[in-house]
Amino acid sequence: MPLSRRIERALPNALGIGLTGFVLVVLFGPVLLLALFSFNDSTVISLPWEGFTTRWYSEALNDDGAMSAIGHSLVVASVVTVASLILGTLASWGLTRIPFRGRSLVAGIHGAVLVVPWLIIGIAGLIFFSQIELALSLQTITLMHIVVTFPLVVAVVSAGLIRFDPSLEEAAIDMGASQLQMMRYVVLPQIAPSLAAAAIFAFAWSFNNFEISFFTGGFEQTFPVWVYGVLRHSSNLPVVNAASTIIALAQVLLVFGLWYGMKLMTKRRGGTDRDAAEMITGAVR
């Protein structure tokens, strides 16, 4: 093969690898550097490297603001995840399996929540709570998180239900299964991976949500609101560094858990990586 042809063949691949590498560096490089510098023994986050220390971590663990914010976020995200899974599973079954009048309108409202910007939903929530005279707190944050998060669960779980043939459910009923048995032994195993993915997305949406927590929260701060406040006043940065690294690490582990879990589940049912990839993209389609 002449050299020019060989270059012509290799060039697209090189460009592809270069592009992918560039994106990975831009997406993860800053956070990796942040993690690295959380071990730097200096109050300012800059070169030169002053030596290895874990003192910012012990300071972060003893920082009331950081710890209570992380605690609040964990509690809110857990409640939101459970509530969203219940509401979302109910709605996805209703919207994909039961014909009723006004179904497309109800489905449209579920979709609308996902496209209205969080800033606007946050402000609407703030005005709403002030009108019904409900004091802003972790509870109001949780309520607003639920309403923006469960439609995401609907999107993910519906995508799973649409791909799964409803005649299997009819067959189970015809063969004498009760509604409950059909749900337990036919539907649940099929949508379990979607439910797992939806749970992780829901948790992350709530945990990472800044706009809505910012507007509908009171005195008790969630983690993103706490970081925002500290950054606005540029104080105590190394502690933010350490706390952020802990959170980022936990999130990396969670996503790897998701990956591993999906691999296991799809493999056990004879699926492939393609199925797992489809599960991720199914939510946005």
């Binding site: 592009l19 800059s46 209703g94 800033l119 606007i120 402000i123 703030l126 005005i127 309403v147 950054l231």
Partner: protein, 299 residues
């Protein structure tokens, strides 16, 4: 022998009664719909109502359009709206320039790296947005790592101030924050395209650009539409990134609305601004939807 058993099966399969046809949707849909009504529809309704009301300082209130006229005629807001448009558009175009080829690589070229790369994109989105913004600030600042590295290498004499607290830094942060939502819909629509079409186009003498423009682009138009809906619209309302890395020149509409509500406590003006943004978003979505249908239909 098979014939008599057939009616038996249809008999055991229960026919839904009228009552159960009414009760079943109610059982599944009442709770989710009630949550949406109380916590989404009613608050949005109140927001719209508030945008047409005036002052509550003296206790007086009533119908007015001044919130809208004040917002739309203020030259400062117009300037910020223009800056917001500029920032959001550059960030969106930058993401498409990187995102479309990346989606292509993922969909057709990545092979066994497809799933890990997809998960890397998901992970990038799951990372806390505040942590990400903070990481960029640490890199781009006057005493940030990039300036530090460049000065200690002797490449520059004085730190570059142009990296942080301006439009540039907001664009960098926003483009990297939303990239996942740009790439995944486009990737998903590419997965549905038969790659044999590219071979066919090549055989018929089309170059890569013609193939892209005439074959691939019309087919992935719906994916690009979803990407625009998921990314371009929220870009206009983002306020965490501009308020943390935007300085004074990188202020966006989100900051104006947030300040109006939280600093000035003027809920009516804030509501009117939010309503205007919502209208603009709805109009844009409709337009993008129409365009994607025209493109998609052209094949």
């Amino acid at each position: 022998m098979g014939i008599p058993t057939t009616p038996q099966i249809t008999v055991t399969g229960e026919r839904p009664s009228r009552l159960s046809r009414l009760l079943k949707p109610f059982a599944f849909m009442s709770l989710p719909t009630a949550v949406l009504a109380v916590l989404f529809l009613i608050p949005m309704g109140i927001l719209v109502y508030f945008s047409f009301q005036y002052g509550d300082l003296t206790g007086q209130s009533g119908f007015t359009l001044s919130n809208f006229t004040d917002t739309l005629t203020d030259p400062l807001y117009r300037e910020i709206a223009l800056a917001t448009f500029e920032i959001a558009t550059i960030a969106m175009v930058a993401q498409l320039i990187v995102g479309i080829p990346l989606a292509y690589v993922l969909a057709y070229k990545a092979g066994r790296f497809e799933l890990p790369l997809l998960l890397a994109l998901v992970l990038a989105d799951e990372l806390n947005p505040m942590v990400r913004i903070y990481a960029w600030r640490m890199l781009l600042g006057r005493e940030g790592l990039i300036n530090d590295a460049l000065t200690s290498l002797g490449l520059i004499n004085a730190p570059i101030d142009a990296l942080l607290f301006n439009k540039f830094s907001v664009i960098v942060v926003l483009s990297t924050s939303y990239l996942t939502y740009t790439v995944i819909p486009i990737y998903a629509s590419m997965k549905a395209v038969d790659s044999g079409l590219f071979e066919a186009a090549k055989d018929m003498g089309a170059g890569w650009f013609t193939t892209f423009r005439r074959v691939l682009l019309p087919l992935i138009a719906p994916g690009i539409f979803i990407a625009l809906l998921l990314v371009y619209v929220p870009l206009f309302t983002d306020f965490a990134a501009p308020s943390l890395v935007g300085g004074t020149s990188g202020i966006m509409l989100g900051n104006v609305v947030a300040d109006m509500v939280l600093q000035n406590g003027n809920l009516n003006m804030g509501a009117a601004m939010s309503f205007l943004m919502l209208l603009a978003a709805a109009l844009f979505s409709l337009l993008a939807y129409q365009l994607s249908r025209v493109k998609g239909g052209a094949k």
